[in-house]
């Protein structure tokens, strides 16, 4: 069996004399090797079965059985065909109802909703539909890694905007304003945030929306973690006055519904934008897999929504445990109000996040993602996913605590 890290090694091999690199186009060649990838290799080549990983980016729940069963049943019934390009009408209608209930957003399932292969495809389609070569894409960082490489692939220029722990990693009006140039076209928002767990409230979004209007920016709002907020309800920037038309909302079923492997997402927005994205989607993807669409529809049933609530409550409990745990062992940790990540600071150790994360794996057998891979402002932090069992989390905290004592 081919090992995952072998593929990476091939990917990262310098252009050899007889290699085929010269056939690649400039943008493919320019895709930088992902920093997280290197770390993944380090962890996964380790033979140590005892490593506890807080480096994951997905729920520890498997998809609820009711949802899996619906997909199995549909396969048994022979539902194995293409669906309409935009997704089945039933699923689009269910998504429309869901967004209405969740965020008071009203999208027309006929022309404003597109079912995609994961939220990732939605982001890719939006950038492809919007970006001209040289256009600038404003990206608050630290953030989910793919925005910047995907921007480059379509000839755009990713412009990172640093956010800070003192602001709970929110995007502030001042720093957004400072980053805007005449070429700025798109603002990418990922709140609740991977990796920081930061959120943007209505009051936080208001000045951002004003600037977006003022400078005629389109917002790609990646709301894949929107259901996972704690103590306060998620607000979509699309729901702010005047913002629905200039926002492409991208979301999906991976996180809140524990469906990462199904690759089910959706994008919503103005018919002109969604229409263009649909045209790209119909030639590249045709349609999202039908079994995933059946499963997603079941996730939006009353039972599915109940399961979702149960999972969110469980993340919240573990969130409190982990945040307090980090503080007790002496790592400053801002309160993450969304997603399922804590983002403690390791600056007090004097190490870089890469060095800290590496030594943590090798010496303390805990894997967490070094913050610098998430862009500006990530250095000095560690992304720790708390979607693990309470006993694993406690054990991990104890190991990190011991490690900190050792390096003092």
């Amino acid at each position: 069996m081919i090992q995952d890290h072998e593929i990476t090694q091939t990917m990262m091999k310098p252009a050899g004399v007889r290699g085929m690199q010269q056939y690649l186009n400039a943008s493919a060649r320019a895709i930088p090797p992902s920093g997280i990838r290197r770390f993944f290799d380090l962890v996964s080549t380790s033979k140590d079965k005892d490593i506890i990983s807080l480096g994951v980016g997905e729920p520890d729940f498997v998809t609820p059985w009711r949802v899996r069963d619906a997909a199995v049943y549909s396969l048994e019934k022979g539902k194995t065909q293409y669906t309409p390009n935009a997704g089945t009408p039933e699923l689009r209608e269910a998504i429309a109802r869901y967004l209405h209930d969740q965020c008071s957003l009203d999208y027309d399932p006929g022309k404003e909703i597109l079912v995609t292969v994961g939220g990732s495809e939605g982001i890719d389609l939006a950038l492809r539909a919007l970006i001209e070569p040289g256009d600038e894409i404003l990206i608050p960082e630290p953030t989910y890694i793919p925005y910047s490489p995907l921007s480059s692939l379509v000839g755009g220029v990713a412009v990172g905007i640093e956010t800070f722990a003192k602001d709970n990693f929110k995007l502030t009006a001042e720093s957004l304003r400072a980053a805007i140039t005449p070429r700025s076209k798109v603002l990418v928002l990922c709140y609740p945030s991977n990796p920081t767990g930061g959120i943007m409230t209505y009051e936080d979004l208001l000045p951002i929306a004003k600037i977006a209007e003022e400078h005629d920016l389109i917002v790609i709002s990646d709301e894949i973690y929107s259901e996972l907020t704690y103590g306060t309800k998620h607000v979509s920037i699309a729901s702010l006055p005047g913002m629905k038309d200039r926002t492409i909302l991208v979301s999906g079923f991976s996180k809140a519904f524990a469906m990462t492997g199904w690759r089910m997402g959706y994008a919503c927005g103005h018919p002109d934008l969604i229409g263009a994205m649909l045209r790209i989607h119909q030639y590249t993807i045709m349609c999202a897999p039908i079994m995933g669409q059946v499963a997603a529809l079941e996730s939006l049933s009353p039972h599915g929504l109940e399961e979702k609530e149960r999972m969110i409550e469980s993340y919240n409990q573990r969130r409190r445990l982990v945040v307090q745990g980090f503080r007790q062992i002496g790592l400053a940790c801002h309160e993450p109000q969304g997603a399922f990540y804590a983002f403690p600071s390791i600056q007090s150790t004097g190490m870089s996040s890469e060095e800290f994360a590496q030594r943590l794996v090798l010496e303390a057998k805990v894997a967490a993602v070094p913050g610098h891979v998430f862009g500006k402002g990530g250095e000095g932090f560690l992304r720790c996913c708390y979607a693990s069992s309470v006993s694993q989390l406690n054990e991990a905290l104890e190991r990190i605590g011991n490690f900190l004592n050792k390096i003092k």
């Binding site: 990983s53 994951v56 573990r318 409190r320 006993s391």
Partner: protein
């Protein structure tokens, strides 16, 4: 019962060994408040016991379990109470439920072997005056008990690191 107690029960029924301090952190409550709620529930027998769920099929001295449908005549004034008590006081009886439908009591019995269970039914259970009839069903395999699945799944298939 208040929300805090319900949340505590939800956590404890999954893991009875959770410390009050951990529960307090997880629920965003004060430790003293959680400890008091737990003591109160122990005192009121809301929390009856902290027991361990054992998969006995993995233990060498395997046990035999049977479910027995018992039909019986209720007593004037006391209904099924005293007959149920006569049955549940036997240590080999693991559970007793009063049922609606074709029979009255459902009795779960555990024994070292088939013979022991059979002998209990014929010598102890059937001979009780108000018992009219019994039907014994041996349990062949337990798949799930008290919400816990016995089959071992690969517990974590996730990639160790993902974006």
């Amino acid at each position: 019962m208040n929300q805090l107690k319900l949340s505590i029960l939800d956590l404890l029924k999954e893991d009875a060994r959770l410390q009050a301090s951990t529960i307090a952190t997880m629920l965003g409550a004060q430790e003293a408040e959680v400890a008091a709620a737990i003591s109160e529930m122990e005192r009121d027998h809301v929390i009856v016991k902290y027991a361990t769920v054992v998969n006995w099929s993995k233990v060498d001295d395997e046990k035999v379990t049977a479910l027995i449908e018992v039909e019986c005549t209720p007593e004037r004034g006391r209904g099924f109470e005293s007959i149920a008590e006569r049955i549940y006081l036997y240590p080999e009886v693991k559970s007793v439920y009063l049922m609606s439908g074709a029979y009255d009591l459902c009795v779960e019995i555990e024994g070292k072997n088939l013979k022991e269970v059979a002998s209990f039914v014929s010598n102890k259970l059937s001979t009780i005056d108000s018992v009219i009839s019994t039907k014994t069903f041996f349990i062949l395999k337990k798949y799930k008990q008290d919400g816990i699945i016995f089959e071992e799944f690969e517990d974590d298939n996730r990639l160790l690191v993902s974006p």
